[in-house]
Symmetry: C2
Subunit: 491 residues, 2 copies
């Protein structure tokens, strides 16, 4: 199979686009900016969903479902929200079609105009807080810990598969609390859940931190985020968790009676991750041969490719392969036995490499004689001949080793590509020559942040939670600063 | 807790509406016709999804995701589809809001009008077949067995929670095949999957059959359905599976090269079930005290309610309850230990009855002394005192017994409410006095069907797949007929 992927070193953007399409993950649809997630790509999302959902439930959350549509007037109820949130939304104005009088298909029925336009949700704070008003009367109704799996629409002008699409899939948690501190704790807990998921499942090392004011979610008092570093030295925001204070409770008049009978507004949080994570997964680990998937999220963990000439050989190998498949299934390892007679082994090797299957097993006639198989790792491309007797444990251990190796490699990459700088000259030099995260002092003002962004396209990705107290001078203004923040160009 | 549910015998419709709300399943939203599925209701949907998804995957299907929006022109590509399908759709005409010049919130930006309006999908045949055109070239690409879990919107004027809402959640399978017979087999396979799910999991006996021409899906050559009977004697269509012939392949020009190189149009099917199933579940089994849920779909299968006076008693009971909860969890039984100190046992009993928890365990001080608990079944309201030693098996068996009993009761109800009639007088009498399914001869014409519908509001629910050949006369026209069909008033 001819892959002909562009090389990362030559055209990273093109490499990514081609990889997403050729590995059968997703494609553009006929509707501008909306993607089609193909079965192979969707099965990665299903694995992510299942794991995240378990983690949400372990931390006490329940799922619910709120309407796709939001009355236009709701958006303007929380002042910062409407001001800060992008106004590129899909707007529903009519509710009926009719046959064209000239017999040319259908037209919008002008008599079916909505009194108030409906917005396809870009995020659901407004409709959910409008609902919470009826769900919350007293402290007994709190905390309210709800999550929703849903599609949302933001009418982006420049889209890229998974990374930025008009419609995307996500989960959005929306919680309500009696106490301010409890809401803050929830916000922090959820960014920790995201971080754990990214590191343990996606094998993606992330920096946890706070957003600067200008990058904060519209309507939030504080936005926590996790930031990963992609192979081209650009950062990618992989998840956010917002402490909303009482902003939405005030906008939608959500009050509760405390134990002492006093009425007060409820404290809120919201947090979300999306199909963008699939983009991060691809960009962080894959290579010029194709996808490299961490075993914990790989739809297929092991592929078995038979190598044969005669029908008899094919049959004998199939027997061994099916047996092995069965015993691996018992260990909850997902196996595909690629017994297609229409393609040669070399084609299959390339195809499964492109699709990022972590472990490939090849079985040929000589292997049958010797009671061995050939094991090939996708991440290191190492091959070894292994006895088939007891191979299940070898496979299990190798999958774990691959998971760790991918993580460690990405971690080392981040270490190698994180630079402390103390002058604006150095900042610009490194940004242009190497990219990556740049750790630098900043005077804490939005003005400085904006100027740096205008001049270099780098933004403050976050103020890391583990940043040390350290007195220094802002690289741009020379004003005093007490900790370093992380800059990068970002997706 | 005061439930005050209306009685089914007095006002069935009101009983249903109140039950859905009071049992915390769903409520109406601020957006006309769109419901909010509350956590308790959503967890039933999650159980349904998980089971159905497993069944789809076992029959070789994969999930994918297609865009929410459909270009308006797509709808008119398949003539029957646009003609027969309701035109009540949400239409997106603009893609941006802007601040109102008078400072009053936001308004639609007239400069951001779409060239072609987008329809929020009412079903996805058109956008999916438009995509399949690129996925299918040769017989090697077939069959294509894809399912999608999604939200869809049909602008219904008269809505009822779960049963008929403007937005609802569903799954839609869309498959493509090289051979006509293979597509027919797929259609039949999926209606059998639905039937198995309804009977084994929902404890809902269903009739499998074919729709008459007028009730067929717009664009299908044949529609298979499953029909259940609700307690008020009305039928409810619980799932459909459509044989599309080559209609959509022709409309979207989807051809494949057969083994001999000849080009031909692909054969298609589509099939779906929705959150409507939750409505069916409620209506089929519940009583004047509240929900009756089959154990296999109950979010909580067992609730433990402690009965105590002193703190010491409470503590001793809690110890026993937590231990029991743990050992039941090992058997994958979902248990809620309702240890709230804010409510009395009587209140809790009523609440869990309302919410349909299949099995209630009460533990009091005397139980502790005797090593017993009180077990109460939701379905029969039977109580028995049981030794706590070895109770796990008793509970497991009782849950199975409840599942069977609910099914058998519903089955007996259907038997008692299915009537064979041979004259139109009798037909009308039974329809008015008893309702239920009426099995009668019909001359096979749409005209007769329409007249019966106009005069009685009864429709042909289906032509049962297991209908015996039997010569008779149409109850309306007296013309010859060779099998009976099932009539009923329907949701």
């Amino acid at each position: 199979m001819s892959k002909g992927l562009p090389k990362r070193s030559e055209d990273y953007a093109q490499w990514y686009n081609e990889l997403v399409k050729r590995a059968d993950l997703a494609e553009n649809s006929a509707v501008r900016g909306c993607m089609i997630i193909k079965p192979y790509g969707y099965s990665i999302w299903e694995k992510m969903q299942r794991q995240l959902d378990d983690m949400f439930k372990e931390t006490g959350h329940q799922n619910a479902y709120f309407p796709l549509f939001i009355p236009k007037s709701y958006l303007s109820k929380e002042a910062d929200h409407v001001e800060g949130f992008a106004k590129e939304c899909a707007v529903v104005t009519h509710y009926r079609l009719k046959n064209d009088e000239n017999g040319k298909g259908v037209v919008v029925d002008p008599d079916a105009k909505l009194e108030e336009e409906l917005i396809v949700r870009p995020t659901s704070e407004t409709i959910i807080w409008n609902t919470y008003k009826n769900w919350i009367q007293s402290y007994r109704d709190l905390p309210l810990l709800v999550n929703q799996w849903a599609n949302v629409v933001r009418w982006e002008m420049r889209t890229r598969l998974f990374l930025r699409t008009a419609e995307f899939l996500w989960q959005e948690g929306h919680t309500a609390h009696a106490e301010k501190q409890e809401a803050i704790d929830e916000t922090v807990q959820m960014i920790n859940v995201y971080s754990q998921f990214a590191e343990e499942y996606m094998a993606l090392p992330v920096i946890m931190g706070l957003k600067s004011e200008s990058e904060r979610f519209a309507g939030a008092l504080e936005t926590y985020c996790i930031e990963g570093l992609m192979q081209d030295g650009k950062a990618l925001q992989a998840g956010t968790s917002h402490f909303l204070g009482q902003n939405f409770a005030k906008a939608f008049d959500v009050k509760f009676a405390a134990k002492d009978g006093k009425l007060d507004h409820v404290w809120g949080t919201s947090w979300g991750v999306s199909t963008r994570l699939i983009g991060a997964l691809i960009m962080a680990h894959s290579d010029d041969e194709g996808l490299v998937l961490p075993p914990k999220l790989a739809p297929i963990q092991v592929v078995i490719v038979p190598i044969y000439k005669s029908d008899e050989e094919r049959q004998n190998i199939a027997e061994v392969a099916e047996k092995l498949k069965k015993s691996l299934k018992k260990k909850h390892i997902t196996v595909n036995f690629d017994n297609r007679d229409t393609h040669k082994p070399g084609f299959k090797f390339a195809e499964w490499e492109l699709k990022g299957v972590p472990l490939r097993i090849a079985i040929g006639p000589r292997d049958l004689e010797n009671g061995t198989v050939e094991l090939a790792r996708r991440d290191t491309k190492e091959k070894q001949t292994v006895n088939i007797e007891g191979i299940e444990n070898v496979i299990e251990e190798t999958l774990e080793a691959i998971q760790s190796n991918i993580y460690n490699k990405a971690k080392q990459f981040r270490i190698d590509n994180t630079h402390e700088v103390d002058s604006y000259e150095e900042f610009k030099n490194i940004l242009e020559s190497k990219g990556g995260f740049i750790s630098a002092h900043w005077d804490g003002t939005t003005e400085t942040e904006e100027k740096i962004k205008e001049e270099t396209k780098a933004t403050i990705r976050c103020i890391p939670l583990d940043a040390k107290e350290e007195s220094g001078k802002c690289i741009y203004t020379g004003k005093p600063s007490n900790k370093r923040v992380l800059f990068a160009k970002a997706y």
